[in-house]
Each structure stands twice: as C-alpha cells, then as structure tokens.
C-alpha cells in the first residue's frame, strides 16, 4: 500500500512550514522520512547539513520522547552530547536555554516529575540545541490540554524568533498551522498528496491575539473547506 504519492515541495532556509491534512493521510510517515527514520520507496529527500558533525534534522515527537532516565538538563543537551560537545559546555548551553524557556529551575528533575507541558518544552529545547538546520515537529502539542497548548504555541514562536531555524511542523489543528506557519501545505487523504500550498499573509512577530484576526479566520475556514472533502473521504 502506498502512503504518499505526488508529494513534492521545497522549504527555504529559516522558513516555518506547516503541514495539515486529515488523520491517516501520511503526515507522520512524511516527517519520519525527512528525519531519516524511514526510506521512501521512490523519490528523494535532499536536506543540507549546516556543519560537519551536526545532525541534519532534529525531531520533536508526538509522544513523550524525553529519555526517562536522564534529567531535563541532560535530555535538553542530548543533541550536543551526540555531537561530542564536552559536558560542562553542553550543560551550560542547555541550562541557558532552559532558563530562557522558563523551566531552568527544573533542570535536575526527571521527566516523570514534570508536567506534560514542561516535558514538551524540554523536547523543543533538545531540538533547538542539537544544531540541526531543520527542525521537524510531529503534532508536538497534541497531547496537551487546550490552555497549555495555546501557551506552547506562543512559546514556540518566541523561541523560533530568536533562533530562526527551518521548521517543518505537522498538525491537524488548522488554526495552529495558520498562526505558526509562513506557509501551510494541505495534504489529501490516502495516498497523501499536497493539494494546496498557501502562503500566510500575516506579519511577524505573531502572538495569540492573531487568532482573532479576520484574515486568519478566513484562511483557516478556506483550509477547512479543502480538508473537509478529504476528511469525509477518509472516515
């Protein structure tokens, strides 16, 4: 069975691209292939490597994916560790990042002692610190409650503004996609294809207040109408 067919797109450096589509359309499959965790049966994926020794991509997983046996600090520093950065240097860097993300005082706590929101902030810190040029996020906020989710969107925008990494962000939340992305790619049901490539005409910096922006509403409604047909086909 073919999960994806006719998927072709390019992402500019520093661009924030969101992918939305009905569930089961192969969004996660696509992201895992970009992450090198699966091979496409046909076609190719080209990703530049920013520097020797750095991973090409760093993924933020949908589920709890901090290593349970490492504390928050060592988890955040994991990508630095695999690159061979010495312990004091990587811990300083990670501590600074965690401080900026407002969870610095929990650096020595283990994942099971943290809330889901804090864990996911830790996972985002790990991705940003890894040195990868492209960050891949697979519905990173889907396990969070509605309020935490809004705050995390805002938090992600703030971190991204400071670091300007390329981000490919998969979500099934259309408003989230419009609020976060420079572009929104809309996928069809199985086999997944990209059926629309929409540029979001919204100035940055953005914040939660932009959810009330009529332009955002209009765009989100448009995307919903496109997806609705596909989603009905998939039920």
């Amino acid at each position: 069975m073919i999960a994806l067919a006719g998927v072709s797109f390019s992402v500019a450096a520093g661009e924030f691209v969101c992918i939305v589509g009905p569930s089961g359309c192969g969004k996660t499959t696509l992201l895992k292939m970009i992450a090198g965790l699966g091979q496409p049966s046909a076609g190719q994926i080209l990703i530049p490597q920013p520097a020797k020794n750095t991973p090409k991509t760093a993924m933020v997983f949908q589920e709890q994916a901090l290593l349970p046996w490492l504390n928050l600090l060592d988890n955040a520093a994991f990508g630095l560790e695999t690159r061979g950065v010495a312990k004091p240097a990587r811990q300083t860097q990670a501590q600074n990042f965690l401080n900026a993300a407002g969870i610095g005082q929990f650096a020595r706590h283990y994942p099971h002692q943290l809330s889901t929101g804090m864990r996911q902030r830790g996972a985002i810190a790990r991705a940003f610190l890894s040195g990868a040029g492209m960050l891949l996020m697979d519905e990173p906020f889907s396990a969070l409650d509605a309020q935490t989710r809004l705050l995390m969107q805002e938090e992600l925008l703030r971190i991204w503004k400071d670091h300007r990494k390329t981000v490919v962000f998969v979500t099934h939340d259309i408003e989230e996609a419009v609020l976060l992305g420079d572009r929104v790619l809309v996928m069809s049901g199985r086999p997944g294809r990209i059926i629309e490539d929409i540029r979001v005409p919204l100035a940055r910096p953005r914040g939660l207040q932009d959810r009330e922006n009529p332009e955002v509403r209009q765009l989100a409604w448009h995307i919903w109408k496109v997806i609705e047909t596909e989603a009905r086909r998939m039920i």
């Binding site: 895992k32 992450a35 090198g36 965790l37 750095t54 991973p55 991509t57 760093a58 993924m59 997983f61 589920e63 994916a65 290593l67 349970p68 046996w69 490492l70 994991f78 990508g79 560790e81 695999t82 690159r83 407002g102 969870i103 005082q105 929990f106 706590h109 283990y110 994942p111 099971h112 002692q113 943290l114 809330s115 929101g117 804090m118 790990r126 890894s130 309020q147 935490t148 809004l150 705050l151 939660l208």
Partner: protein
Amino acid sequence: MAYLESYRNRSAADDLAPPRVRWNARALIRWAITLTALIAVWELVTRLRLIHPLWLPAPSIVAQKFAEMLASGVIVRQTMSTLTAVLLGVLMGGLPGAVLGLAMGASPRLRAIADPIVAAFHALPKIALLPLVIVAFGVGETPRIVISALGAFFPLLINCMAGARNIAPVYFEVSRNYGASRAKTFARVILPGSLPSLITGLRLAANTSLLLTIAAEMVLPRSGLGAVIWRAWETMRIEELYVGLIVAATLGISIAAISGVLLRRFAPWHGQP
C-alpha cells in the same frame, strides 16, 4: 483572556509530585505482625504436640540452637562461605549473561542465532551438571562456584534480553535522529532502558545461585549452609536443619530488599507514568 493569564502565571511547582520515595513504616509494622503471628502458631502447634518434634521442633528450641551456633561462630562462617560462592558466581556468570542478554535484545540477528541455544541450555537442570563439573574441576572450591555461576548466567541473560526488547521504539528513533553512535546508543538508551529488568534479573540470579550453591554443598566437601543442613539431617539434629533453612530464607529476603533499594536508587523513573 484573563483565565489564560492566571494559567500562565501559575507556579510550575504546582505540577510537581514529591520526588522522593519515603520509607514505609506501616508496611514494616504489617510485616512484623504477620511474622509474629506465624511464629506464635508454630510454637502452639509444637507445644500441643500436633506435629512430632522430629518434623518440626518448637521455634524456641530452634532459636536456642541458633544462638548456640551464632556464639560458636559456625553459622556465620558457613553463611559467609555460601555467600562468597553466590557473589562470585553472580559476578562471573551474571556479567557475561547481562552483556550477552543486552546484545541479544538489541540485535535481532544475534537473537536469531543464539536464542535456540540459550533456550536449550536454560532448560537443563543445572544441578544435574554437578558430576560433570566435578570431573572437570576436581572436588575443591571451584565446582560450587561454577554451579553458582551457571545459576546466575541465565536469569540475567533472559531478563536483560527482555529488558532491551521492551524499550519503547521512540527512544531508539530519538537516538538515531540525533545522530548517536552505536556506543552512545548503548550507553544512553539500551543500558539505562534495560536497567529495571537487569536489577530484577540480578535478584533472580542471586536466588538461583543461592539455591544451586546450597544444593552443591550437600554433595561436596563440608562447607556452607548446604553442609550445615545435610549434616543436621545425617545426625538427626533437626533443629540445626531449621537454623540452616531460616538463614537461607533470610538471605532470600535480603536479596529481595536489596533489589528493591537498587531499583529505587538507580531506576527512579521505573513504574512512573
């Protein structure tokens, strides 16, 4: 959006569970009550002559014998002798068992080759190998330790293999995606991920080793708890036999308690959501 503001300003500490496990005094009391009741019933049964004292001497008599053997130093000496054989066995058999088990858990290819062999040898009653071991190593200290090592090897191997296989695939994906080397994946995912199973394996290994060591001591020249028990039987001093059994049981309880401490100390995440 006022509710959002208050949510934003909540202390992150609100989300925290107390991070340490406290010593459970209530469980300890329950234990003591059960034990006391058990001994009281035992004493009563023997006093009322419901069971012949040849089968079951009164706990007071066993306790008296225990005190004697403690004073003469014989019980401490023989227990240490058995414990040394168990520890050496766990070290010499358990370490290779753990390493092989982790490797088999992480590598499907190695598992395909080695698992049938492991399954076959695991099924053999290790104590039945004692004659062969004696032929190979003579009747000195060595056969006891070899049998003890055989007892420790398989439980650790099988537990470590299961532990490594049960690690959630997402942790391996993290490791791959973040460019971890093989050595790093072993140190950061496979070993810590298998640690709870490894500790449980250690407990089973120590128990099996103790069992086999005592059994071997009954046959081999006179040393260890097995020798105490066997000599008591040969000379019909049943209360001495019970002293040996009680010490063996106490060792079993200690092994369980130590593995519990190890789990809490080295795998605090274990059993947490």
